[in-house]
């Protein structure tokens, strides 16, 4: 009889540990996923000075476009909360679209090898940003589901794991067109 009780207690403890660990693991995945977004946003920010310089070489008088990109970039690099990062990210994407639209008018620029390789880098980074965002939202979805559903919900307070914010893109149309089209 006592063996049955001991066995049941051990099973119960193992069950608690599994639930607790699941929450902690989900929480860490969300952190990692957010870090990935930041890595990609930083990569994009690093590409911008180079891109602006290259376009300037061919289209020096489009100052207002350059200013818009530089301002958006400064905002994006100083943002900290998820909502701020998301808003600045959306603004920068739009400013970059403006810059690339300007480039359309300069055939010499469009043909330069430097611009082509920057364009490829920028378009892959834009895709990576949007996929990192999507992956982050997926992990937040699993975490929030776990925090809200039984049995993991019983352990959320104990594990100090809370629901997390989704990474919302400000402009809903951006969701449908993640990549930059050239």
């Amino acid at each position: 009889m006592e063996y049955i009780v001991i066995g049941a207690v051990i099973l119960l403890v193992l069950f608690f540990i599994a639930q607790y660990n699941r929450l902690i693991r989900l929480n860490i995945t969300v952190d990692e996923a957010f870090a990935q977004i930041e890595v990609q946003l930083k990569r994009r920010a690093d590409l911008i000075p180079n891109l602006v310089e290259t376009v300037k070489g061919y289209a020096a008088h489009e100052q207002s476009t350059f200013d818009a990109v530089v301002t958006a970039r400064a905002k994006a690099t100083s943002a900290t909360t998820i909502a701020d990062v998301a808003a600045a990210d959306g603004a920068l994407t739009n400013a970059l679209k403006g810059l690339l639209a300007v480039a359309e008018a300069y055939p010499d620029l469009k043909a330069s090898a430097n611009f082509l390789s920057l364009q490829e880098e920028l378009s892959t980074t834009e895709n990576k940003v949007s996929f990192a965002r999507q992956f982050y939202n997926d992990t937040v979805r699993s975490l929030n589901t776990a925090v809200k559903t039984i049995p993991t919900s019983f352990f959320a307070g104990f594990a100090k794991v809370d629901e997390r914010d989704f990474y919302e893109v400000e402009n809903p149309t951006d969701r449908n067109v993640p990549g930059v089209k050239f």
Partner: protein, 305 residues
Amino acid sequence: MAENNFRALASANKGKTYFLLAAMGVLTWLVAYAVLTYFGAGTASTIVPFAVGISLIGVWGSYYGSDKLVLTMTGAKVITREDAPELFNVIEEVVIASGLPMPKVAIVEDSAPNAFATGRNPDHALIAFTTRILEVMDRDELQGVIAHEMSHVANRDTLVSAVAATTAGAIAILSDFLMRMMFFGGGRRGGNQNQNPVALILSLVVLILAPIAALLLKSAISRKREALADATAVSFTRNPAGLRKALEVLAADSTVVRQKSNAVAHIWIESPLDAKSVSKLFSTHPPIQERIATLRAMESLGPQI
């Protein structure tokens, strides 16, 4: 939620795989039981573990070294970022979307557009492309193909097909062995003299039909895993149109990969075996038009989040 969105499709295909794997288990058990009835306990207790053992060693050896083995069998060459920066960019995008580690990337010199994935787990994954597929596909299509291959990695399809191959192999070895024993009059020893003749005939039928049934199940599992990989690919890219266009390119192209070896047929995205010569039940891939239609249905659901 519509029932043909990628999440519902993925879970339906997973459910079917479990069912088929369970059917494999039942079949193995049935064969073992037939051996027991027909040849008695003495023969059964030596020969069943023997057949399972041989099959295990053969299949699991190739499963463990699958990344290296497939490289030699297909003549694929591992490449680095410098060899194809654009391809690596697209792969990195899908890697981020899937949350998997970066796989090794290889190229096969071939005039047919095709691709495959292998490796025993996500950390040892390898995805390979023929030179032709990189020429004919645009960025979106290539992204779809890469997502399909990364889905095989994510769904651990090398493991699933290894399990299927082990059981099918064991059953084939068993029935081959026993048929020989019957023909050379070695059978029917042991404690079966007072057996019911109906049970004996049924066991014989099971032994004869089992290898075909195992092969059918193995092909069915492979087809479900392909359909699952298509659904998982959409969950990575959220862009069914890319993969659909890629499959249309593959369907329109009549050239097939030069190695027509059956042994590695199941790993390619498009079956390299001539579809007409293989009946639908034995085919390792669902018909490409069916896959295109499924993806088209997903497109009509609009952008999915």
